[in-house]
Symmetry: C2
Subunit: 332 residues, 2 copies
Amino acid sequence: MSKVPEGDWIVGVDIGGTNLNVGVVSFEGGLPLAVRRERTEVIRGAKFIVDRVIRMIKDSMREVMDENGVGREAFAGVGIGSPGPLDRKTGTVINTPNLGWRNFPLRDLVQNAIGLPATLDNDANAATYGEWWMGAGRGVDTLVGVTLGTGIGGGIVLNGELYHGANDVAAEIGHMTIDSTGRKCNCGNYGCLEAYASGQAIAARAIEDLDSGVGSILPELAGDVQNITAETVFEAVVQGDPYATEVMHDTAKFLGVGLANVINILNPEVLVISGGVTRAGDHLFVPLRAEIRRRAFQVAEQACRIVPSDLKGMAGIIGAVACFKREQCGRV
Amino acid sequence: MSKVPEGDWIVGVDIGGTNLNVGVVSFEGGLPLAVRRERTEVIRGAKFIVDRVIRMIKDSMREVMDENGVGREAFAGVGIGSPGPLDRKTGTVINTPNLGWRNFPLRDLVQNAIGLPATLDNDANAATYGEWWMGAGRGVDTLVGVTLGTGIGGGIVLNGELYHGANDVAAEIGHMTIDSTGRKCNCGNYGCLEAYASGQAIAARAIEDLDSGVGSILPELAGDVQNITAETVFEAVVQGDPYATEVMHDTAKFLGVGLANVINILNPEVLVISGGVTRAGDHLFVPLRAEIRRRAFQVAEQACRIVPSDLKGMAGIIGAVACFKREQCGRV
């Protein structure tokens, strides 16, 4: 793949509800260099988060310049992945309940602060494009990505292009209703997949159950019941805790319902699952695949590889870079 | 649009669980001529249905030849829309519980009997492509079609092309789980949209309720409670029957759950709904739109026109012709 005159390096930014990740990827692709990871600290407000991201970008660029003996002209720009819904054309985040952004001109704030062109896409779209470019779905025609984090995001790649829909809101897999009279979701709707299988939902369920006296190593691992997070649950699963294993099993079943729907609607070649929950390995994938087999059309289920991400948490950064390349250079 | 050398007319075949529809469409498009409509009579078996379809095709072609003073050379071929899952490349229906077909070489049976090239696509895909070519979604980039008949089918048009997925099973909207512990569906799964909002589901619910003593004009309209069909329910809604109106309202809500999921995943410009249920008009569309508004992302919901088919039940025939054109001539 040839280089563009604009530069040899592209910065990737992956904004999540819990963590901010920034790194630099070479134009030809590969794992990110000079990676920075900090807490999002949503509670400190919108401006705080943007300032932190801008500082992280500058740090990361500085490291690459120092290490490689290059100047600013070696950088083509910044690709940003952010929770949505958002408007790619204006670079504006429309509304993110988790981050407190509303009609927020994220792209231009970064662009002006860094002095390089920037692009904005949905965080889960970006991660999915990263899997297609460099990861578990490399080069396939039809790929769906599911990111299991604080919330549940999705991305769709069709014929090597991210599918955005009529106005950039496509692939909101987390807000698919799987139980029309079910649990209330943060989005206001009832019975969303995210209300059952997200990190937040897993932690909330464990805290509720343990408060009512279920036995588990979770309180010990977390220090206190109220400190339990999805990560604690994954850790307890790995250590063989029966209660945590049951939570994981139920989570996998709920996820299986949602992903069977995705398979019945999109009939993808590959479904890549990323996020901390994949650490649970077979504890997740065995019941997940069983539930999908039960619910999806057999021919569609058999055609679909269901795999964990192999980009070590870097899909968001790599994908944000891929989105930048696609938008600014017309190809990835 | 110019003509292809192969012929001026194309036969469209729309095979449903209840009715068989055949008609002839001119290469340039338009409403079908020489339309034949007969009952499917599933109970009489696979061979009976195919023989009936072949006879209907011959009848329909004969009428066009007589009326227009043309010969067989005026026909380019036959486009077939059939329930699936199916394999377009081999022209084989893989498995249709409703019709009793299993690895059934439908396309070649028709092709050999008629002596013209034939193509095979999913019935709901075909109907959706018909809406895109000549109907309520004419020329838009992103269109989802939903056919409410004996079952519930779906089709997806992206950038003017039918989206088929990895192996032709995409858009099975009817078998989306909306209540993971809900009603058993014909497909074996629990809580599918089709188990709540299909014609079969509507009729089954009415019969159950009336057996347990609910008051309604339905038994009178149908002659007997056991004869009630979805059509009877729509008729009773039009006549202002409160019970039938309640059934329609609930059906619209279930459908709203499923279509909100579709909107959150695909973010289409247009969603076309076809089938007898659209006769209920505002009794369907008002509660349906309200439920979608409650559940879908606001930006996605606002971007999507939700409209009834305007092809008068002919979308399946027209779309089967469009599929034939696309496959045999490379364009529609």
